[in-house]
């Protein structure tokens, strides 16, 4: 999060805000579950909301303090399927997970030339060692599911998840697949030419490109009709919040377009606000023209395959499958 966003809230309400970050959401939950930490607001990634509600870690929201939810947020996320009525959360960022490549090294590559664009990874044997995938269980297996023609990216089917894991194991052998979460750095330094990528990371990639490499050297693809992998983060107020009203006001502050633009300037990640269109972020010079595909539109979001919570059994299946992929 951009510290300027925090500062603008502090100035607006005359209060002080302390920002703490965690390496992983599991680490955050472990600390929050003890009840020993006195935070007011938490940013959980969406698939974890049900766990947080069941564990009584977050509290129901009072929407009268968050009018921007109705005023600014995409209609489709005012009452999302994972939190009907936005009872516990308001949306923070949305992002797509697509394909990024260095078009200066791969001038003839175009994922749309394939009947299934994800298949292009399995056919990239001539650039072995230059192909990467996000080091993330949901993203990696999710892309393999789509490559196998399975669009339920939250499936609990052992058959489908195992087939996805086998496809990834095959891919590791075919292209000496690399796993990274800092794909923007590896694409920028040219050590990887083709990588599964998060849209927000691609928005930030101009800052990582070495001198002399133009931003037009990077391309990003995600299905134009929105039928691709998507994810989102949310904001919630913690059960033991000592400043619940201020916590709600902070959520409302984050849902203002000016705040969201200021935040995107630092993080590269967009928020699902009606005014945050590709045209607007281009006008604000937050994104280069060749990477506007990294901005998700509301109509695309409505058709996308949003990663959501898994059942306890499903979680076990996904984790075992991912362990097998990563220990090939």
């Amino acid at each position: 999060m951009n510290v300027e966003v925090v500062k603008s809230f502090e100035k607006k309400y005359g209060v002080g805000v302390e920002l703490s970050t965690f390496s992983t959401i599991d680490e955050a939950i472990a600390k929050l579950a003890t009840g020993a930490v006195g935070y007011d607001v938490f940013v959980p990634t969406q698939p974890y909301i049900s766990l947080l509600v069941a564990g009584k870690i977050i509290q129901p929201l009072n929407h009268t303090y968050v009018p921007n939810l109705e005023r600014e947020v995409w209609r489709s996320l005012r009452s999302p399927w994972y939190d009907v009525g936005s009872r516990y959360t308001v949306p923070y960022t949305v992002f797509s997970t697509g394909i990024a490549w260095r078009n200066d090294f791969l001038p003839d590559y175009d994922p749309t030339q394939y009947s299934n664009p994800y298949q292009s990874f399995w056919e990239a044997t001539d650039i072995s060692g230059r192909v990467g995938m996000l080091d993330d269980q949901r993203e990696g297996l999710g892309m393999a599911l789509l490559r196998n023609g399975v669009t339920d990216v939250n499936t609990g089917s052992e058959k489908h998840v195992d087939a996805a894991a086998n496809a990834l194991k095959e891919l590791i052998g075919l292209v000496n697949l690399r796993f990274y979460t800092n794909e923007y750095q590896h694409l920028a330094d040219g050590s990887v030419w083709l990588h599964q990528a998060w849209s927000g990371d691609m928005v930030s990639i101009p800052y990582y490109l070495p001198k002399g490499t133009p931003v037009t050297a990077v391309s990003y693809w995600w299905p134009e009709d929105g039928r691709g992998l998507m994810g989102n983060d949310t904001f919630a107020v913690l059960k033991g919040a000592k400043n619940p009203v201020l916590a709600h006001l902070f959520l409302n502050h984050l849902l203002e377009i000016d705040t969201a633009l200021l935040n995107m300037e630092f993080t590269g990640y967009q928020q699902p606000l009606t005014e945050m269109t590709p045209e607007r972020v281009l006008e604000e010079e937050l994104i280069p023209e060749n990477l506007t595909t990294a901005i998700v539109r509301e109509d695309q979001f409505e058709h996308g395959f949003l990663q959501g919570p898994l059942s306890a059994e499903g979680m076990g299946i996904w984790e075992s499958a991912w362990s097998e992929v990563k220990t090939t």
Partner: protein, 292 residues
Amino acid sequence: MAERRLWRGLALPGVVWLLLFVVVPAYAVLAVAMGQIDSLLQPVPVWNPFDWNVGFIKEAFAGVVPGGTYWSATRNTILYVSATVALCFAIGYPVAYYIARLSGRKKGLLLLLIFLPFWVSYLMRMLAWIGLLAPNGYVNEVLSAVGFGHTDWLDGNPFSVIAALTYGYIPYFILPVYAGLDRIDMRLLEAARDLGASRPWTFLRVTLPLSWPSILAGTVLIVLPMFGDYYTNDLISGSPNTNMLGNSVNLLVQGGSQKNLGAAMVVVLMTILAIGMLYYLWETNRQARARA
């Protein structure tokens, strides 16, 4: 009697330190490895040994043998660590020997140069190597200039991982070996030469055996952290083909419901390393007895 009490008393801080920072954490790992998991997917340690669940431990041990899920990581760990120890010996021993035979300011300067890498964080040194080994980095530029062409150092190959491990850990090997060589009584070498031994023979029959305990100490010092190392591999390779046991532990404890299994993998690592440590203790005891 009072003197004996005094000596025992002096050991007290060390014993307390060991209890607090070795025994208690090791027991906590065991309690998690044989514990449960709660509804928030957080591991719940079980402190009472009578309630321990050995399922995760069994799974972890079954995983590291040939045919198991973690066998490739185990094999890679043994291969990479062995190759790194061999390289550290091949490069580090002559360096330590050379420094030990120097005297005065030169010795101090070279020791300082060996210590210098300690001043920069391990992670930063590895990140620097990424820049150097990148496709358009200085290493490739130099190789191209002398006609060797470009090499894909960072394409997930095991040689780069071994080279990075060697670079990262070699100072830890050189220092104890240097200390051991420096302590060797020169009169023993002179005696060997007086008795007709050639220079190579003196080295093989006197210097090398006398420096063996320090070689073992250096090996222990680098093997222990290397068995748990995962970031060197993550940074230099990023490919599952070069995964080590540390990467498997990191994968399991980072998220999800398999943290107990991750702790069980740590128990496996501790067991493997305990075997090595027992050998080290037996060997150093044997040497001490021989000297006595």
